[in-house]
Assembly symmetry: C2
Homo-oligomer: 147 residues x 2
Amino acid sequence: MQITSRFTIAVHSIILIAYNQDMKVTSKLIAGSTNVNPVIVRGVLSQLKEAGIVNSRQGATGITIAKPLSEITFYDVYKAVDSVKDEGLFHFHENPNPDCPVGRNIHSAMDGRLNQIQTSMENEMKQIRLSDIVGDVQSIIESEQNS
Amino acid sequence: MQITSRFTIAVHSIILIAYNQDMKVTSKLIAGSTNVNPVIVRGVLSQLKEAGIVNSRQGATGITIAKPLSEITFYDVYKAVDSVKDEGLFHFHENPNPDCPVGRNIHSAMDGRLNQIQTSMENEMKQIRLSDIVGDVQSIIESEQNS
DNA sequence: TCAAGTTGTAATATGATATATTATAAGTGT
DNA sequence: ACACTTATAATATATCATATTACAACTTGA
């Protein structure tokens, strides 16, 4: 069980837009670079737009980034793109038996710990800025050119 | 996208066995308490057995715990039960375009950070022992009885 | 103004996978 | 020997992520 590729698609998209600052980046171009269906890409972009991370106008060619990359963290993207925002990271089995002392209480006994784990992961995601990733991608590309 | 309920099923099972130390706990009893299909429960138990967390013998009634609860962490259970052990927490979109500088390099630019996040989450899971959970369940049950 | 191209979405199909179910083998213990 | 359990294979069902088809709404340049 894994976190949806929507997250990496979203990061890829933002980096692509940033890397091609001078040209108009369309959802078709992003679909080509990610190798993901254009409708899915537009769906992801739509969520990023709703979160205030990118800008776009219906009919107007090109997606742009709404704020400095140093102000966008992995967490922001993850939250923007995660469709099931309110469910936790862990999927609890649905209906433990209320007639069993353990079944009746296991959920509340575990919830705090599960949240603690999720929070720790999210805090780590808050540490990583998209400006870091652009930087890394650019150095890799430069090193490609010098060989 | 969430982490499979197999994890919480596994924890629930272990706690149930620990709570009923004196009686023989069968997979049927566990299925009843978790409200999960017996075959699934036995599959989870089978993985826990392979990881050295529980003991069982074909034909012999009852599942037992193989080592002190204080030596079993959430991480141990998570690893034991996670079917896709080698794939990471994040699902990367499959085939970014190698003809695009960003598409060609985004994966390696992100991988380190994604691992860092996963590691942070796993470290948090290593902090939590099943003895903590049994303790919490027992205090909740006791407080139920005093009301 | 109109035609080509783009964003934005709805509706549906496909594919993958987690859980449920059915069936049966193999072992235990009274 | 019989009832019960663990173990597992094979299949079905359900859910959900991604792909696809279709079309509406908008922009912009000719």
